[in-house]
């Protein structure tokens, strides 16, 4: 029972880490970034590469990977997305192409075999007689800290208020002198960093293959739709709902159907309440 509780919490935490970045960049810059899953993959592969090939110590590799992914995201936004911002179709397409290209690069460079991202914690932790994987607990802790830090940043700092302003009314914010483009870059960097961090911390116990961006993308998607595009609290709530639903299905029904939970959640939301739990209302 405790296993299921913790397991669900860990799953939800990883989902939240993926979803928050995705919903943030949409809420602020109206960018549906389909390359978000690629950031997750790059975080894991970067860590693997730095530790395995260059023998960098794990903590340094982890921080460097997150930074590199953040830079990659910012570069992508600046070079590929910004010129196409008028057309949402174009943004969807170009980010999707980035995701597919990154996948191919990973295939060519690293091969199709699973890679082994080293874990910070290699031993099980014993709680109330139940053995829990140490790295999974660490992932839970890191997710909570990072999302909490992000929330505080947005709510309590001037830069955070600027971000909120842009997301609520971009034109007014610009009249107030808030540099929209620089904010977009910053937010994209934060978004990519979160996704990359998820890859670093979850890579050790989840599958690290070139196609890992696809599952990450679909689950992040579902959480964001259910929670409401643009709402961080919505994403966290939806992450908990979907995370625990998946865990329930895995442990008590059929583990094969865990992948479908998020997809069904998307469809139900779009049919019943497209705005999601906490999103703004959309209608015909």
């Amino acid at each position: 029972m405790l296993t299921v509780l913790i397991y669900g919490a860990v799953t939800s935490a990883i989902l939240a880490m993926l979803a928050v970045g995705f919903t943030l960049i949409f809420g602020v810059a109206r960018i549906l970034n389909l390359a978000h899953g690629a950031f997750y993959a790059l975080g894991a592969y970067c860590t693997y590469s730095l530790t395995a090939t260059y023998k960098v110590p794990l903590i340094v590799a982890a921080l460097a990977s997150v930074a590199l992914v953040a830079l990659f995201g910012m570069a992508m936004e600046r070079v590929l997305v910004r010129p196409q911002r008028q057309s949402s179709l174009a943004v969807l397409m170009i980010t999707l192409m980035v995701a597919l290209t990154v996948e191919q690069v990973l295939f060519v460079v690293f091969g199709s075999q699973s890679k082994n991202v080293p874990a910070f914690i290699n031993f099980p932790v014993y709680l109330h007689g139940v053995s829990l994987d140490g790295q999974r607990l660490l992932a839970l802790a890191v997710a909570v800290c990072l999302i909490g830090a992000l929330w505080l940043f947005i709510q309590r700092t001037r830069l955070g208020s600027a971000i909120l302003a842009i997301s609520q009314d971009p034109e007014a914010a610009q009249y107030m002198g808030i540099p929209a483009n620089r904010i977009f870059s910053l937010v994209m960097g934060l978004s990519a960093a979160l996704a990359g961090a998820a890859g670093v911390i979850a890579g050790p116990f989840l599958s690290v293959r070139p196609t890992m961006d696809q599952t990450a993308m679909i689950t992040a998607f579902s959480v964001v739709i259910v929670g409401g595009l643009g709402s961080i609290p919505g994403s966290i709530l939806a992450a908990l709902i979907i995370g625990y639903s998946e865990t329930f299905v895995a442990f008590y029904l059929n583990p094969e159907w865990t992948g479908t939970v998020s997809l069904v959640a998307i469809l139900l939301t779009l049919v019943l309440r497209p705005a999601g739990l906490m999103g703004r209302a959309v209608g015909a």
């Binding site: 994987d133 895995a250 442990f251």
Partner: protein, 405 residues
């Protein structure tokens, strides 16, 4: 309008010519072997390496019927549609004399009608589903071109696993309750029912069985169920599935029982080290090891390691044997025409590097004393490998995983 026509004409024809030039390059002299294999996977890379070795050796001794051997590779991945495209390219564009390859049974089965249509001999070295050779029995005239040299089909493998389970798991380790976890691929679906029946006939009980899609990447819930079912040994049947993650998560969950079975990815020499030793204790099936199974085994193994810097996986001996077998059949038949070569192959009783190769009525390789058999190899301390079954070839004793009492 007058200007558009020539432009579009050139575009279409440029494309057509480019492709036909690719085909023209193949001259008529060498005997061309087409390899349909997943080039991004270890099994594919080893297929190519082994064929390369065999082709070079045969050419050094004068070739076949005075002609040199050559080979061309087409990626079939693990995608049936890519495979069909690869077969079409090899047969219709490269005009190969023989096809050697295969890995995923789903891909092979999708390719078979196309292979049959092209009337090219195909020698399988990697896919295990009995359905592949069953077609030879159902429609001999259409499918007579299909042969399988390797591996043993999954029904035969199941029987040999039962043998291992009875003699090692039950008799040596004293465990008679077994759980089965496997991927839901076609070759496994043919294997598990035979396995279950055989286990039960030998006094063992299957307390839990579950197949899952090869994309599954979180097995912890499954391990919980295996544990709860009262099983004392876990049999695994994995090939395309995420073995690395499976083994790592099993180790993290400290599943309280020994485990083993078929795990193709675990055949790779660096498997144990790339999961940081989490695989210690896993017993997996292998088709070859550095032991004198036949006089040809160790020379093959050593040469392969020398040329490629790594030990071979199961498709390598199969591919190597196939080239030699085909060369032998062509020499005997005196031609590369398919029908006479097929007649020779059907009569073969050829000594390969893993045992003798002989085909049954549906062109499937047989097992038995002297022929090809499964070896059960276990990862032990420091990621060394020991053969633990069959007794005649054993190099060590089976051990329990370090965390199991």
């Amino acid at each position: 309008m007058r200007r558009i026509v020539p432009l579009l004409t050139s575009v279409v024809f440029a494309g057509a010519l480019a492709m036909s030039f690719q085909a023209k390059a193949a001259s008529n002299k060498p005997i061309l072997i087409g390899l349909d294999t997943p080039i991004q996977h270890q099994v594919g890379k080893d297929t190519v390496a082994a064929v390369k070795m065999a082709v070079e050796e045969i050419n050094a001794k004068g070739g076949v019927l005075g002609r040199k051997l050559a080979y061309v590779v087409a990626d079939e991945g693990v995608d049936p549609q890519l495979g069909v495209s690869a077969i079409n390219k090899l047969t219709s564009d490269d005009h190969v004399n023989v096809l050697i390859g295969g890995y995923s049974s789903g891909v092979t089965l999708a390719e078979e009608p196309h292979i049959a249509q092209s009337k090219t001999i195909w020698i399988g070295v990697g896919s295990a589903s009995p359905n592949i050779t069953a077609l030879v029995g159902k429609d001999y005239d259409k499918y007579k071109y299909i042969f399988r040299v390797n591996p043993l089909n999954s029904a035969l493998q199941a029987a040999q696993i039962v043998d291992f389970a009875k003699n090692v798991v039950k008799d040596q380790l004293g465990r008679d309750k077994v759980a089965i976890l496997g991927e839901s691929a076609i070759w496994v679906r043919g294997l598990v029912p035979v396995l279950v029946k055989g286990l039960e006939a030998n006094g063992m009980k299957v307390t839990y069985q579950q197949l899952f899609d090869e994309s599954m990447n979180d097995f912890t819930p499954l391990f919980a169920r295996v544990k709860d079912s009262g099983a004392k040994y876990l049999l695994v049947i994995l090939s395309h599935a995420n073995s690395d993650v499976f083994v790592k998560q099993l180790y993290e969950a400290r599943l309280p029982m020994p485990y083993g079975g078929i795990d193709v990815k675990s055949m790779t020499p660096n498997f144990c080290s790339r999961v940081n030793g989490a695989a210690v204790g896993e017993t997996t099936v292998n088709f070859i090891t550095r032991a004198p199974i036949t006089p040809k085994t160790i020379p093959f193994w050593d040469k392969f390691v020398k040329e490629n810097g790594r030990a071979p996986v199961y498709t390598a001996p199969g591919a190597y044997n196939s080239v030699y077998l085909y060369a032998w059949a062509v020499e005997k038949a005196g031609t590369t025409d398919a029908d006479p070569v097929i007649k020779q192959l059907e009569k073969a009783d050829y000594l390969g590097v893993g045992g003798k190769i002989k085909f049954n009525k549906v062109h499937d390789d047989i097992d038995g004393p002297g022929y090809q058999n499964l070896l059960f190899v276990q990862w032990q301390k420091d990621c060394t490998r020991q053969v633990v079954w069959p007794k005649e070839l054993a190099t060590g004793k089976i051990m329990l995983p370090p965390w199991v009492k």
